[in-house]
């Protein structure tokens, strides 16, 4: 009982902090802080999806930024044609992401381990080059959104705070959805496919189709995150789907602690806040950030959450 409460405590705390952050921000540089945390939550959604794939299914995708890009470009391309209605654009963004995930998943999931990493990278690069060649939509320069998405004609996201809470709701929704999926019968098979695919196959599960459904779910959430990102920055560009971005998403997942879901949110926050803070200290912030990554891998197994747990254990042991 105690155990359950303790594992629940952290996610609850995370969402409470996120819910109250705008209140605290209103005392400081409000729009800047809102903007920063909105980005944190948006990348949090993408990182959640990736954690679901890596942490529970052992599927390390090095092309997850492609979905972010697809979502963002759907919003922007509709916007360029004067359609900014969420009731139309969001479902389309999700469907396109799902389709892309289904098609590429069918190919990628034939391969394993490192080959899977590389083939997802290949598809990520392809979609990156496609976006760069969309000259009517800015090509490599990207495209500015005229206005943020509207719901039934109302510009509900125009206000930064409204956007913040909308993103928070989507993050909470994604988190709860993935938790439910992980705990379900489907999720148990999916997790089993990571531990021992042969056994799962012998028991009679068609592992491939389970993995593909999971891949589609993760792809949709990536698309959602991209859709929100386009609205937050009011700008899209192919750099949203470069392989460096996919790498950053993996870092976020590992940073927070893989296979915990809420760790991905912590990781996204830690990554983006560190980038922002260190960037403010010195232009050579990567000299600090690089070794930090190494140290975290070497000494903090299980990421920041793992580090926190082991410190707590050591303290309580006395």
């Amino acid at each position: 009982m105690n155990f359950v409460r303790r594992t629940e405590a952290l996610p609850i705390a995370i969402f409470l902090v996120l819910a109250l952050a705008p209140v605290a921000a209103s005392f400081g540089a409000e729009t800047y802080l809102l903007n920063l945390f909105t980005r944190v939550m948006i990348y949090g959604i993408a990182a959640l999806a990736l954690d679901f794939l890596c942490g529970y299914g052992g599927l390390v995708s090095f092309g997850h930024a492609a979905f972010v890009g697809i979502g963002a470009y759907t919003a922007a391309i509709f916007g360029a044609h004067g359609v900014s209605e969420i009731a139309i654009t969001l479902p389309v963004a999700l469907i396109v992401s799902a389709l892309f995930a289904y098609l590429t998943g069918t190919v990628c999931l034939r391969t394993k381990s490192v080959y899977f990493i590389m083939i997802t990278l290949a598809f990520g690069q392809m979609i990156y080059f496609v976006a760069g060649s969309l000259s009517p939509y800015g090509g490599d320069d990207g495209l500015t959104l005229k206005l943020r998405s509207t719901l039934f004609g109302f510009p509900i996201l125009q206000n930064d705070r409204a956007l913040y809470y909308a993103v928070l709701l989507f993050l909470l929704g994604s988190y709860l959805l993935l938790r439910a999926v992980v705990a379900s019968r489907f999720g148990r098979v999916f997790r089993g496919s990571k531990e021992n695919p042969t056994r799962m196959a012998t028991i009679g599960f068609h592992v491939f189709s389970y993995q593909r459904v999971a891949y589609v779910i993760a792809g949709c959430l990536g698309g959602l995150s991209g859709f929100l990102l386009a609205n937050a920055t009011e700008f899209v560009s192919p750099s949203y789907m470069s392989w460096q971005r996919s790498g950053e998403l993996i870092i976020m997942v590992l940073f927070g602690g893989i296979g915990t879901l809420h760790g991905a949110i912590v990781g996204a926050a830690a990554f983006l806040l560190l980038e922002d803070m260190l960037g403010g200290i010195t232009e050579n912030w990567k000299l600090i950030f690089g070794p930090m990554l190494v140290l975290i891998v070497l000494f903090a197994r299980g990421g920041l959450l793992g580090l926190a747990t082991s410190i707590k254990e050591r303290l309580s042991r006395g």
């Binding site: 729009t31 760069g132 320069d141 560009s237 990567k286």
Partner: protein, 389 residues
């Protein structure tokens, strides 16, 4: 916490010291590229502005200056977030930057709608020169097409029959070749678009050699240009055809290109040896301040941006609260540009002279040198689409 205290302090001060604004520091944000291969361009931008402030005794428009330099990492969304931070957290009155057009497109909205003036010391895209021109946006460089037009005009005037043209496959690259063709009416042997940041040009060089052109015109900024120039020389093409370019051989790339670029041509609005006393002082000062590096156009245009801010602020008594008055002052361009002739068109882009420049050796260094004036008081071709005034 700091921020909180300082804003409390600011509120307290407001009550007592409304007139003391002239003593308050002038806040200027800089958005520039300081990481990755293009960092050298971004550093020139930052250095130029810093030098302008230093030469003015640490002040612009009579006010002490506080600079907030941000690295856009050449990622548009990072740039947006940093620009918002400058506006909202640091409360800057001016943002100077960026180097790259895609970053400019990204930060335009957050900066100008956030109430600051955006002054671009380099990127000058066609959309903001024409239909989307913006009252709070000023350019101290050029419109992106213009340097390419200089080369097109030159090739046309020199009576060249056949030219091979090449640029990276992104919007500025397309504008570049379009600009060249606007004035060059001879035969274009081939029009090639290479992927952005391509390093090896072996494939293209063979095509150039086989094309039998009199000249090649390329727009390959930064590291791309370094690679291309070296490989062009190595392929033995330098003796067979003329090398025309824009943003490809300049003081930021010459330290790596060295002899390989000698005698190559570029189109520009300035060169370090442009003959006026103020420019001479600037070039010497820059070399002294930054380890003997010769300034490139990025540094000079950014220096001019500093002078522009200085002149306009002086005209309004150092006050930034009346945006309309400040805008009117900026529009008059009340400063002496290092390039001499300078005024703003209705779209806030410069009307200026353009030159054909040539790479020469200066002591043990290499620099561009004015070869021939190609345009006088030239307005960019998009200005007519701008409805502002």
């Amino acid at each position: 916490m700091n921020k909180l205290l300082s804003s409390v302090a600011a509120v307290a001060l407001l009550g007592t010291a409304c007139t003391a604004q002239a003593q308050e520091k002038l806040k200027i944000g800089v958005v520039t590229t300081l990481s990755g291969p293009a960092a050298v361009l971004g550093q020139q931008l930052r250095n130029g502005l810093q030098l302008a402030i230093k030469d003015n005794g640490g002040k612009l428009g009579g006010r002490e200056v506080e600079l907030f330099v941000q690295d856009d990492e050449l990622k548009p969304d990072v740039a947006v977030s940093k620009a918002k931070a400058l506006i909202d957290r640091d409360k800057v009155d001016f943002v100077v930057g960026p180097i790259f057009s895609n970053i400019l497109v990204a930060i335009m909205k957050p900066v100008t709608e956030g109430g600051a003036f955006l002054i671009s010391p380099n990127a000058g895209t066609s959309n903001f020169a024409g239909k989307e021109c913006n009252p709070n946006f000023f350019v101290t460089s050029y419109q992106n097409d213009q340097n390419h037009e200089v080369m097109g005009k030159y090739a046309q005037d020199a009576g060249m029959k056949k030219v091979f043209i090449m640029a990276p496959n992104y919007p500025a690259g397309k504008d570049s070749l379009a600009g060249f063709k606007r004035f060059f009416k001879g035969e274009v042997a081939d029009e090639v678009y290479v992927p952005l940041n391509q390093l090896d040009y072996s494939a293209e060089l063979s095509k150039i050699a086989a094309s039998g052109s009199e000249a090649v015109f390329v727009f390959l900024p930064g590291g791309m240009g370094v690679n291309f120039v070296k490989q062009f020389r190595q392929a033995g093409l330098a003796d067979k055809m003329k090398f025309l370019s824009a943003f490809t051989v300049d003081e930021s790339t010459l330290p790596a290109q060295k002899e390989a670029a000698l005698g190559f041509f570029g189109g520009a609005n300035w060169a370090p040896d442009l003959d006026n006393a103020q420019n001479k002082k600037f070039v010497e000062g820059y070399q002294k301040e930054y380890n003997g590096a010769i300034p490139a156009t990025y540094a000079f245009q950014s220096y001019d941006a500093g002078l522009l801010i200085d002149g306009a602020l002086k005209a309004v008594g150092g006050k930034t609260d009346n945006k309309d008055a400040l805008r009117a002052a900026l529009e008059k361009a009340p400063f002496t540009s290092l390039r001499g002739n300078f005024k703003f068109g209705a779209n806030h882009y410069p009307i200026q002279d353009f030159y054909q420049v040539k790479v020469v050796q200066v002591g043990d260094k290499f620099a561009t040198s004015i070869d021939k004036k190609v345009f006088t008081d030239y307005t960019d071709p998009h200005a007519k689409d701008c409805k502002m005034k």
